[in-house]
Amino acid sequence: MREITLSQAVNEAIAEEMRRDPTVFLLGEDVAEAGTPFKVLSGLVEEFGTERIIDTPISEPGFVGLAVGAAMTGARPIVDLMFGDFLYLVMDQLCNQAAKQHYMSGGKLSVPMVLRTNLGATRRSAAQHSQSLQALVAHIPGLKVALPSSAYEAKGLMKTAIRDNNPVVIFEDKLMYQDKAPVPEEEYLIPFGEANIKREGTDITLIATSSMVQVAEKAAETLAAEGISAEVIDPRTIVPLDEATLIESVKKTSRAIVIDEGHQSYGVTSEIASRLNEKAFYHLDAPVLRMGAMDVPVPFSPALEDLTVPTPEGVAAAARKLCSGELIHAA
């Protein structure tokens, strides 16, 4: 199968859906000629024109709100939010408006929009361009949240998101844009709420999202060499969450670590760990561990930044301790 980058995968997904559905258009900062700072959208304006690939002023709350209004009136907008960190700017329109219109109107209004943005530290971008804020939006009923972990997921989840009639937030790992993966030539969609078992194992379950899937896979490689069989599961969407697949795995392995690049406290890892404790407690041989980003603003210096996010070595070390019966309690 051909291999393409995550960036190309996103670009293809958007182009295919725009060809299929004339009500789809895209707006955001520097999306047209510039194709975004990450060049993810390069070439789209040549095919679709500035009427459908719309450069906006630097007015994040405004243009996210425009997408909400357009979505409520027959269009299917994709909003490009240049950095995930800018989510703080758009919270009213995303969380008070987009997320609640369908419910507040008793089902009369709906908001079929996609907000695509990114996550991920270690790009030396400091505290305001490095955050992984998926937990913030996953907390809000009415929003769906997708976290692709490779080019394959990025394409299939984006196409599903564009066709969904709910507001969907997709976070892409900005460090993975140039990473290649096998992506079929023919059309496919990845349904929301279906986890992907990336690697089967019997001793411990590593549940990892987005950027952390490759971290978990590397840890699993290391552990395999030591005779520890780790299962790696990528939930792919955290809202909706494929709880059943996660619970089944933990019932089999009886140990689990949840890994996500958002801050650990009150985060995605906490939520998934809680659900496993509630629903698989009697199958567990050890506490479910959480591994997220440190609870610190992301520092600039590489010497510091690299310490703030989970690594394959860290995950493997934690897994060893769980499997050896050495219980770990959070510091």
Binding site: D21, P22, T23, F25, E51, R52, T56, P57, S59, P61, G62, F63, V64, G65, L66, A67, V68, G69, A70, A71, M72, T73, G74, A75, R76, P77, D92, Q93, N96, Q97, Q101, H102, Y103, M104, S105, G106, G107, K108, L109, S110, P112, P141, G142, K144, I162, R163, D164, N165, N166
Partner: protein, 338 residues
């Protein structure tokens, strides 16, 4: 009696522009808004309605005058003080009351309440509990109209309080840059809760904000339905012709406090009574009578009919079923897909 229809005559714009039936319906809607608000207030006082509400008594000409020439496919976005906008855009007062009473028979099946009534079938994209929240949404509706080739115009109601929100400035700028078919209608009732515009706003007239975005801005007597209708028609025509947005400021006054918690300590009794003397409803009724559109008896009949309609609406609301609790989580997400 013959009416001099020329522009120079003293005949108000609305009367020389609209057919008698439309004018009669406009007066009916003004009565209906006033009585709806009074009925809501009375029901609240009697403990039948919970929460809070923001009444627009005194502002009826602004709502009705703004919506007078709109079609059902034209959109509006509304505000927390939005009951008048709903009625002006054609909402059924029985379903509105049912929503206030938290009933399944309400516009939003009891999920929205006073601040969130939406009626897309009449182009009403909903009221909003966040000051300024509807502004970008209105511009988005105008963007989709332009993108998808519809000729509808969006009216964006907002209050004087919202003119200092970033959402206002971002929205007007984008609408102006892209010449979108939207009309920004500021209902300036002089106070954002207790803070007067003199203390909050750097310009004398909110219409002056238009200069910053190079769009037309006009300030009118918001208690004069004719003045409102004329300004809006000009703005709507401009929007529909693809020439872009306008800002219309309807200067008006809310007789009641901001919400049920307001004790009116920031304004004088004299100020309130001065404005009550400028009541837009008898003013319009008198115009209709003096120009031979309605007789005194017909006005009295409208008055009585709307009393009856409101009483029946409250009965409908009270007797409706509560929402089914097993459906509490329905509509958090829609299950349909494109």
């Amino acid at each position: 009696m013959s009416i001099d229809m020329t522009e120079d005559s003293n005949v108000p714009y609305a009367i020389r522009t609209y057919p008698p039936e439309k004018l009669k319906d406009a007066l009916r809607k003004m009565y209906l808004i006033r009585k709806f608000e009074e009925g809501a207030e009375d029901s609240y006082t009697r403990g039948l309605i919970h929460g809070t509400m923001h009444l627009c008594i005194g502002q009826e000409a602004s709502s009705v005058g703004t919506c007078l020439s709109l079609t059902d496919s034209d959109k509006i976005t509304s505000t927390h003080r939005g009951h008048g906008h709903c009625i002006a855009k054609g909402a059924d007062v029985a379903k509105m009351f049912a929503e206030f009473f938290g009933k399944e028979t309400g516009y939003c099946r009891g999920r929205g309440g006073s601040m969130h009534i939406a009626d897309p079938s009449k182009g009403n994209l909903g009221a909003n509990g966040i000051v300024g929240g509807g502004l970008p949404i209105a511009v988005g509706a105008a963007l989709s109209a332009k993108r998808l080739g519809r000729d509808d115009v969006t009216i964006c109601f907002f209050g004087d309080g919202a003119n200092n929100e970033g959402a206002f400035h971002e929205s007007v700028n984008m609408a102006a840059v892209w010449k979108l078919p939207v009309v920004f209608v500021c209902e300036n009732n002089k106070y954002g809760m207790s803070t007067s515009i003199d203390r909050s706003t750097s310009v004398k007239s909110i219409a002056d904000r238009a200069k910053g975005y190079d769009i037309p801005g006009v300030s009118v007597d918001g208690n004069d339905i004719s003045a409102v209708a004329e300004a809006i028609e000009t703005a709507v025509a401009r929007a529909r012709a693809g020439e872009g947005p306008s800002l219309v400021e309807n200067v008006t006054y809310r007789w009641r406090g901001h919400s049920k918690s307001d004790r009116n300590r920031y304004r004088t009794k004299e100020e309130i009574s001065d404005w009550m003397e400028r009541d837009p409803i008898p003013r319009f009724a008198a115009d209709l009578v003096s120009h031979g559109i309605l007789s005194d008896a017909e006005v009295a009949e409208l008055d009585a009919d709307t009393d009856r309609e409101i009483a029946e609406a409250i009965d409908f609301a009270r007797s409706g079923p509560d929402p089914d609790i097993s459906a509490l989580t329905r509509d958090v997400y829609t299950e349909t897909a494109a």
